[in-house]
Symmetry: C2
Subunit: 224 residues, 2 copies
């Protein structure tokens, strides 16, 4: 008799109503309370969320830089359209993507995969071959491809923060090249793509209580 793989218990942790409430209350925070810091256990859960984000073929073509140093945050400020949230939010994460994608990225992942899943070496060679086709395509813009994955992680982070009762702001208004210089990314093989602030909103953040603006559901979601 075969030994069937058991169906995992994947009980829901939220009701649909709770999920909708979380989605409705997430908003782009414009003012943070600089005195409130995210507790270490909550921040750790957000780092795990980033780490376990989905990526195409599992390649994880990213780095997440958490800028703790206030002096570096100050330097980033003028390269961020002077948005004060860059210095006032409890945490600031810079999402960086691989500048190029090649066989070495696939090899790094498959090495890891083979070790964790304990697969035989022939199978590993096959996987390496198959996955190489994903990045070894004519016309593939590796940085763009990697950047798309980074935005999956951003989407995950924003939702994850809201689940923990934290506020967040995705930041697209910044100078990537200046960020790369300040953060020492030049020559690292990674370039900054997008930024997120996470923390607790200030009492006078008007966005916190403003009604949300969304196109009607029927304009955005179409059933076919």
């Amino acid at each position: 008799m075969s030994n069937p793989i058991p169906t995992e218990t994947k009980a829901p942790v939220l009701t649909p109503e709770q999920l909708i409430a979380v989605q409705h209350r997430r908003y782009a925070t414009k003012r943070y309370d600089p005195s409130r810091k995210i507790p270490a256990d909550l921040w750790h859960a957000l780092e795990e969320s980033l780490l376990y984000s989905a990526s195409s073929a599992g390649l994880q073509p990213w780095k997440f830089l958490v800028v703790d140093d206030p002096a570096i945050r100050e330097k980033l400020l003028s390269k961020s359209w002077n948005q004060r949230i860059v210095v006032t939010a409890s945490h600031l994460v810079v999402f960086a993507a691989r500048e190029t994608l090649g066989k070495e990225d696939v090899r790094r992942y498959i090495d890891d995969f083979a070790e964790v899943r304990k697969i035989p070496s022939e199978e590993k060679a096959q996987l390496l071959e198959r996955y190489s086709g994903i990045v070894d395509r004519p016309g593939l813009d590796g940085f763009q491809y990697a950047s798309y994955q980074v935005y999956i992680a951003l989407g995950n982070l924003l939702t994850s923060a809201a689940l923990l009762g934290l506020d967040s702001t995705p930041i697209g208004g910044f100078e990537p090249d200046a960020y790369d210089e300040i953060l020492g990314l030049k020559g690292s093989g990674y370039k900054s793509v997008v930024v997120a602030a996470v923390g607790y909103h200030a009492d006078d953040d008007s966005n916190a209580t403003s009604p949300k603006v969304r196109f009607p559901l029927e304009q955005v979601i179409q059933h076919i």
Copy 2:
């Protein structure tokens, strides 16, 4: 005495441990149980999640197509590297992004914004001016910009599905041009970017119980 805006109650709905467990159990499902359909209330919560996803400047440059028709799913199959999940998963969502971004996209959003937030017409004109600068930039690739936002919604959807105890798979392996043809997107101003299957995994989905493969935290997250 001024009337301060009250600090919103934003109690966490999950503990950090619960959030980590949700992140760990989300995985790219390879086999779905075709007999299990997502109940309507859960699916509705996922549509709300898509609708309320974050996007740059709030522009929501996307459409989400839910493919209910089995005959259309069959047509998509051969344009999806023959991945059976396209037909076996309870739900299939095609994420489409605006082909170009221009002043009409800004106007559509600001019209909506002005109505919901009840702002005076001078302020509306200023907003229109300011936001137009976001899309009216030399060298901006509107479709790429819109596609990035779409991936935020994808990241949100994957996490949201896991919260409800559902399985999901992001699908990059498909032919966007053929999808656009089949789904009637040609000439609509939107193009398909990425796809997600959502449902319940089959008992024989080996990925469900395989250990997850991730680079070590210290290689992925760097504190500065």
